[in-house]
Symmetry: C2
Subunit: 189 residues, 2 copies
Amino acid sequence: MKQSLGAKTLTSPTPVWIIGTYDKEGKPNLMTAAWVGICCSKPPCVGVSLRKATYTYGNIVERKAFTVNVPREVDAKKSDHIGTVSGKNVDKFSKLKLTPVRSNIVDAPYVEEFPLALECKVLHTIEIGLHTEFIGEIMDVKADSSVLNSKGLPDTNKIKPFLFDPGSGTYYRVGAYLGQAFATGKSAR
Amino acid sequence: MKQSLGAKTLTSPTPVWIIGTYDKEGKPNLMTAAWVGICCSKPPCVGVSLRKATYTYGNIVERKAFTVNVPREVDAKKSDHIGTVSGKNVDKFSKLKLTPVRSNIVDAPYVEEFPLALECKVLHTIEIGLHTEFIGEIMDVKADSSVLNSKGLPDTNKIKPFLFDPGSGTYYRVGAYLGQAFATGKSAR
């Protein structure tokens, strides 16, 4: 018998991804987001939800583009900091000694020091409520060779990203390998 | 210097959530989804993307409701199996000895044996491409008391959910506590 917790965004786990944008003067900015997720395979798309009050919101409306950067567990302090100050007042790249790299394919910067970046152009803008969801088409993915497996694809075990737990307001590491998808459950009953 | 991997859904990590629905005859069904994420805080909403070819797609269009169930790492085999067979041919609840519980608030069943369930009614339907995103308003969250922390909120450390890695097609456990959100980065530079 389960108990009712009310109408709340209580789930587990959620990713911690860093959104990169340019403002109208061309200053690069970053924000931390957990209300995110892949939302289509063809065309490849990612959904990123944010509040209109954020500096990044205006940047995406202006530039129609953003990057999704995947930080590693060793980047947790910088990632958390990015989520607590506004690009209106702070140059977060400069403050955190991060390097903006201009995407060659969309009008947004990605983070040199984070191992994986999705370069996105806005395909849909969905007004939901407090948050607006920007659905971005993934035009290219850029990765450090150090996080690729033998097939040249990003491997979570090498990236070592981390997670946000909405219920407890905490971060968790990714743990050990659990099994092969579309295989481990063959004999389940 | 990063290398280009092409326009693909390569990121890390993504959740493994199980979507519960009824078909038009009232048979409960489950599907496994990783193209998901919270997408608004007020009203609380979750986005779930799926292909029109799935049995669940028709069920959601018909019933305008679904549940999002969070399985534990010990449920990985059953969860993987749910993702490899269709509800058109198989009664997955029965086959996997799972118990459908009728939601008291939306027209969809949740899984008794999984520790956390979000009960959702469809607010928006976004046609993106191969996948359609259903944005569901979270009307209530039901949880086993065993996964709640001292504040009565779900704790990832107690749920022990697991992750999908799109790059390598594998599952990973959630690992150790890494820090407090909106706090650990205060002194970052």
